[in-house]
Symmetry: C2
Subunit: 153 residues, 2 copies
DNA sequence: TCATTGCTTTACGTTTACGTCAACGTCAAG
DNA sequence: CTTGACGTTGACGTAAACGTAAAGCAATGA
């Protein structure tokens, strides 16, 4: 995780809460967000965020009835959205997230996780090959188009 | 049995389907396939193949009422399935296929096609980045797992 | 001749991933 | 106290991508 996390405006609240006596010093890791803020920032609807919660992909804190989102929820959302861009179904994305989150104390657990990692890797590498193929076909096609264009001009 | 209206092609197809090994007088580019053969070979159902036809992604020849698949249909099916592996919706896949097939005689057409190619390329390169990121995260995660495993052993 | 096999169309069912109300709670401002 | 901005939980709608009968020819095997 963290390889492609978007640098965001977590500084603003962190610095302004520096001298507040009422609130303990809030580091950026303490910041929380509402569902609307999260949805807007990630470019999805609140309905979508709630849908992901229904499927168990995220589980924000509840204060009373209201959802409170923390940094970990943002991390998960990033994973989810990238998974979606890659065309993975949400259920499969959930298994991936669970994989990252699963407690892996015992050796048997770790062996299992390593096996899952290999499966994931196979899948991703197949996709990468598909993309490379598609890109090179696209390049070849472009070359031919430009040839045709040159003959016309 | 009554008089056959168009006996020639129908019988050709029937006999070639019966024993394909003997029918090697035909060059491979002339070979045709039934919907079942195509479906089996590509690992999809005939319903799926017909669905793609409904959406205009393939348009096999018709002999009478029966669908006859040629090499170009197989090429298209390959494009479709790769598109699906990459998570593209079928409608978008159709536009890509149409792009490759579109007659591009005039310069304006070619300009348009080149623009489309760029869009496609952007999309694919975004996906590639996502895959690279996911793969490197996976690698990092694996490294940590192996560390944990070493500490246990 | 009859049954089987394969292809056909029509049409409704299903799953995924949400969208879209509806109806209600809550809290600060006017 | 009412209004309005957000929040909540259902519950139903929908589009994509097929699945799954149902029902019908047409050629072939027994």
């Amino acid at each position: 995780m963290g390889a492609m996390t978007t640098p965001t405006r977590e500084q603003e609240r962190a610095s302004s809460a520096r001298d507040g006596a009422e609130q303990r010093e809030r580091t950026s890791s303490d910041r929380t967000w509402t569902i609307r803020e999260i949805a807007d920032e990630f470019g999805v609807t609140h309905r979508t965020v709630r849908h992901y919660e229904d499927l168990g992909l995220i589980s924000p804190e509840r204060r009373g009835t209201t959802r409170v989102y923390h940094r970990r929820d943002r991390t998960r959302l990033n994973l989810i959205l990238r998974g979606k861009r890659l065309g993975f179904p949400l259920e499969e994305i959930r298994t991936i997230i669970d994989l990252y989150d699963r407690p892996r104390g015992k050796a048997s657990q770790l062996e299992y996780v390593l096996g899952q990692i290999d499966e994931r890797r196979e899948d991703l590498e197949q996709r990468r090959r598909d993309i490379e193929d598609a890109l090179s076909e696209l390049g070849e096609f472009e070359r031919r188009c430009r040839e045709d264009l040159d003959r016309l001009g």
